[in-house]
Assembly symmetry: none
Amino acid sequence: MADAAESEKILNKINGEGVSDDDFDLGQRLRSLRELHNLSQRQLAKRAGVSNAVISLIEQNRTSPSVGMLKKVLGGIPMSMTDFFALDVAPREKVFFRSDELTEIAGGKISFRQVGRDLTGKALQILRERYQPGADTGDTMLRHEGEESGVVIRGRFEVTVGEQRRVLGPGDAFYFDSRIPHRFRNIGEEEVEVVTACTPPSF
Amino acid sequence: MADAAESEKILNKINGEGVSDDDFDLGQRLRSLRELHNLSQRQLAKRAGVSNAVISLIEQNRTSPSVGMLKKVLGGIPMSMTDFFALDVAPREKVFFRSDELTEIAGGKISFRQVGRDLTGKALQILRERYQPGADTGDTMLRHEGEESGVVIRGRFEVTVGEQRRVLGPGDAFYFDSRIPHRFRNIGEEEVEVVTACTPPSF
DNA sequence: TTTACTCGTTTATTATATTTAACACTTAGA
DNA sequence: TCTAAGTGTTAAATATAATAAACGAGTAAA
């Protein structure tokens, strides 16, 4: 018994130190994450549907949240458990994005969902765009540096580039120099879905 | 104020539905893991330095363990939190190989449809790609200058970038530096359709 | 100054996770 | 047959996480 107890402790120690994400600071990570998203403890708590106190306590490492709780909290950011703990192994670049992780750029009748969060220093911007029926990019034509291209996935999509205008359907695509004034519009009755790419990022 | 409250609710809804690792069964995962290592609940409990009851309760999803507890338990396997949750995104589906399928980049199993004809002098390359079931980009990893990104439209698409691997579904996306060795594969049973962009064009 | 907000933190209470100790069942061996 | 040790599960006791409500500080506007 004494031996067993001792070996338990030893094993514990080995495992505890060897495998566990030893100096993993859960509280600090949550705090950084929250601040990165410009959320106050109360804002995050509200979005996550939990009390604000628990955010404070977790960030101070004064409680070890249940995974259910942690999941709820992360849901308010939003971030998955996987990604939360994945940050641990190495500060590696984020490569994969679940569809709900694409950063929403504009809501309303037009939805721009960008792959990647911060594109400063990046050369490429790729977006998944949705246009409600009748939605368009406005009266003034768009103009910016770079090149732009896209593929229509769904719907009837009117693309105007300079003096050319064309209605594109699923599978159709466009490619133009972004310095030429351009405009997009959903002229169909169903939602338009289109994947576009830009270089360099235009916003 | 009213606006803020409303948008919060909306966000909450989006987050709640969108991000949660919905069908993630923590108990079942722990049980599988334990059985895979031929450990009884009591053995694992002893190695982890916790009571055997808690293993039983966790495996039945009758408690939501604190992350501290889960970490201790995993320490008895041993496995890190990172890996535990990383299993979530790992290919749980069968990866199937047909031995007679040798990789042919051109035409056959993989169809690259490029937007635009001649990209010399252009900065951006955008492709609509189709992968037949089982198709991949070959044994040797791809490497080239530039950045690369894509959005999956249809199918189950396995993307490997450096040492990271992930299975992406419709709406999911990726973004990485093309100098990191990478590879693509359709591991599903239906055709994969994906829109990708590259800067500068890689071929 | 006052008022009215925000912020992060803390306290007392409630809810729940975790432990200890038992239960019912199976297997192996004397 | 009877033990003795194994399995996973459960009940009651205890430790701890989570809540609601308050605190003190900071900021901005009247």
